[in-house]
């Protein structure tokens, strides 16, 4: 069971990581990067490291997308 979970997590992380690279629009990339962070958190959790999974969730799903989105909004305003 845990082997299957780890396999699912690895495939999910690989797929979403590839999706981040293949997304060319930075705005959409912020969202795919958030999903990639979630996949990594799930991978850490399936490997039974709850502390690292929590850190990954707060950084990958809250802090990083927020900062990318706000920076994109600022850059977009300046170009108007």
């Amino acid at each position: 069971m845990s082997q299957a979970l780890i396999a699912v997590a690895l495939v999910w992380a690989a797929a979403s990581g590839t999706a981040v690279v293949l997304t060319r629009d930075p705005l959409r990339q912020a969202f795919t990067a958030g999903f990639f962070g979630l996949a990594l958190a799930f991978l850490y959790l399936s490997l039974q490291s709850g502390d690292v999974a929590l850190s990954q969730i707060v950084v990958g799903a809250i802090a990083l997308p927020l900062i990318v989105l706000l920076s994109l909004a600022k850059v977009g305003k300046d170009q108007e």
């Binding site: 082997q3 490997l47 502390d51 850190s55 707060v58 809250i62 900062i67 706000l70 909004a73």
Partner: protein, 252 residues
């Protein structure tokens, strides 16, 4: 250098890298395999020596507490750097935030979003406090809880508007919390010196394993780290929000 020479150089380097990586990877323990001797020892010793149930917290705030001290200062330096970098420059002005401007283009959030923000904001604050205070018992701790606490501010912004967030986000208090948290770590470390042992040694009463108050300095360090991280991430968000919402280049 010609294209051909570059390719040859690349091929030699790639073969070298592949060979050393291959040798290194072959020596790794098998995937998901055995627990190392160090991990086994700490799993056995930490609950007995430090009265904690989350061994990771015992490692990051006690056995390797000095590493975490430096990580705190990395975060402090990063937040300070961003505050300096994002300050309003001489050719920039602060304008009315767009959601309060006379010719507003952004519609106000709907009551449903507002309600969700109130609900989520209080839930996030509670979860953050829980994560900070239970670091010695369950996965989590000051860093994770601190970011969750700071994210409560972001949710208030999502549900209301820039002016409301600015009113309920006392910048001086956030900066103080960032600094007090970082220096608090050092002060708790100095307790060890005052007690006549080493810097950052666990000199406070350890309590009973599994209780909320247990682990000696570990929950105290989690508290100050939580203060620092919550303040730091809230400052980060407010600096970026300022740049996006109110700071404009002055028209020439």
């Amino acid at each position: 250098m010609s294209r051909r020479a570059r390719l040859i150089l690349f091929a030699v380097a790639a073969v070298g890298l592949a060979a050393t990586l291959g040798v290194g990877l072959a020596g790794l323990p098998s995937f998901g395999g055995q627990i190392t001797a160090y991990a086994r020892m700490l799993n056995e010793a930490a609950p007995r020596q430090r009265h904690v149930t989350d061994v990771v917290s015992a490692i990051s705030f006690d056995y390797r507490g000095i590493d975490t001290l430096f990580e705190e200062f990395i975060l402090l330096a990063a937040v300070t750097g961003i505050s300096v970098l994002l300050r309003p420059l001489s050719d920039e002005t602060r304008q009315l935030p767009e959601d309060k401007a006379p010719a507003r283009t952004i519609p106000p959030p709907s009551p449903a979003v507002w309600l969700l923000a109130v609900f989520l904001g209080s839930l996030l604050a509670l979860t953050g406090l829980e994560t900070v205070t239970h670091g010695q018992l369950t996965p989590g701790g000051g860093f994770q809880g601190g970011v969750v606490l700071a994210s409560a501010f972001y949710v208030v912004y999502l549900g209301t508007n820039y002016t409301t967030v600015e009113r309920y986000q006392p910048n001086a208090l956030l900066e103080a919390s960032d600094g007090v948290g970082a220096s608090g770590y050092v002060l708790i470390g100095l307790l060890g010196l005052l007690a006549g042992t080493a810097f950052l040694s666990n000199v406070v009463g350890l309590g009973d394993t599994g209780n909320l108050i247990s682990g000696g300095t570990i929950p105290l360090l989690n508290l100050v780290v939580g203060l620092e991280v919550a303040g730091g991430f809230a400052i980060l968000a407010s600096e970026f929000l300022d740049q996006t919402a109110v700071i404009r280049t002055r028209r020439r």
